[in-house]
Symmetry: C2
DNA sequence: GTCTATAAGCCGATAGAC
DNA sequence: GTCTATCGGCTTATAGAC
């Protein structure tokens, strides 16, 4: 069970991430996945049991990491005392946009996320809500403390809008025409700044 | 070529809309579509030529209508003189949310839109941009007139965020827990009002 | 326009050798 | 852990009768 840098399992996961992002879960076959990963067709069932379970492990791998980074960023904001709508939003958004720019599969993964939303797969939603819902609640609590006059119902609507805008922005991130003069890092920071400014104003709406 | 109320063609389109929304373009087969529509399997190729072309006609049918309603609403706002960020946003958003609530297939269609976005299908994007892009430009122009100090680049970022939030909201619309006491019409108006308030504040961000 | 029958091929999953 | 070979079932698309 020792995990090697380019194990069969890893190669399958990476190939699956790319192909499912490109063609969808139903649109990409395990035959395509194993051919791209340069492994035998039977290896998928040996290592993951089924196509469905392979997909679940795909989400688990990335969401564990993304969630941990968001929590870390939020805690850091709260420890440093500079708690504003902007800094909290940045703690939520920046890890996601960094992932959206990562060529090592993260870029594919955020497109997978957009697909998962469109799927409205109840099992997947349950999985996400069970495993990562508490983090969203942490952020909601932080926002509410800064917006004491906002009704909870209004906040939830607005957080939904923000989630939608972020999902859309992340998944399109590779396509927004980046001025060739600036670095990817610069572009990512610009996107985060634009997003935070927009979302903070939206949260402050009367 | 006389279009009858429940022609084979119409039944195929409606069944396809529902099934593709539920299972995706690759996930739902023409066999499922024709079985649901109560028509023969061969009828799809007779009337549409191929699965891909059936999908295109699906989008054409709804987007022609949605775009026309948006243009009409925008013109009405501009004729009546009450031109504000809120009224323009409402002209853009309300026809979409009405569609999202329509049980006669519109509800399925907006989920198809979310899927199409996740697909990042270049051919479909080109089709949408070629046929409906001029309407988005009309709205952008109207916004810019009310936000003379906003850089164009900033506006485009914000319109992207708004599109994402709207796509997400529409496609999730059937799932937001509606208090049983209020009517669907009421719920739709509430969603539109929440959205317009949020988006207008976001557009006005410093 | 609608039907049956079928072509030609891809699918996920597994049995069993190595 | 990796391989080949294969099972049973599904897919889109079409040819040709009615």
């Amino acid at each position: 069970m020792i995990s090697q840098p380019f194990s069969t399992k890893d190669r399958i996961l990476s190939a699956a991430e790319d192909l499912f992002a490109k063609s969808g879960f139903a649109g990409a076959s395990l035959r395509q996945v194993t051919a791209t990963a340069n492994v035998n067709l039977a290896a998928v069932n040996y290592h993951f049991g089924s196509k469905e379970n392979l997909i679940n492990e795909l989400f688990k791998r990335r969401l564990d990491d993304l969630t941990a980074q968001r929590v870390k960023a939020l805690e850091q904001v709260q420890r440093n005392g500079a708690v504003t709508l902007e800094t909290i939003l940045d703690a939520f958004v920046s890890p996601a946009l960094t992932l959206a720019q990562d060529r090592g599969g993260g870029q594919s993964f955020v497109r997978l996320l957009a697909r998962a939303f469109a799927e409205q797969d109840q099992k997947l939603r349950r999985f996400v809500s069970d495993n990562y819902g508490h983090v969203l609640k942490e952020f909601a609590k932080a926002f509410l403390q800064l917006l004491p006059h906002l009704a909870k119902e209004d906040l939830y609507w607005r957080l939904d809008f923000i989630s939608g805008a972020l999902t859309y922005t992340m998944s399109d991130f590779g396509m927004i025409k980046k001025p060739t003069a600036i670095s990817e890092e610069q572009h990512r920071k610009n996107a985060a700044a634009q997003f935070v400014r927009f979302a903070a104003a939206g949260l402050r709406a009367p």
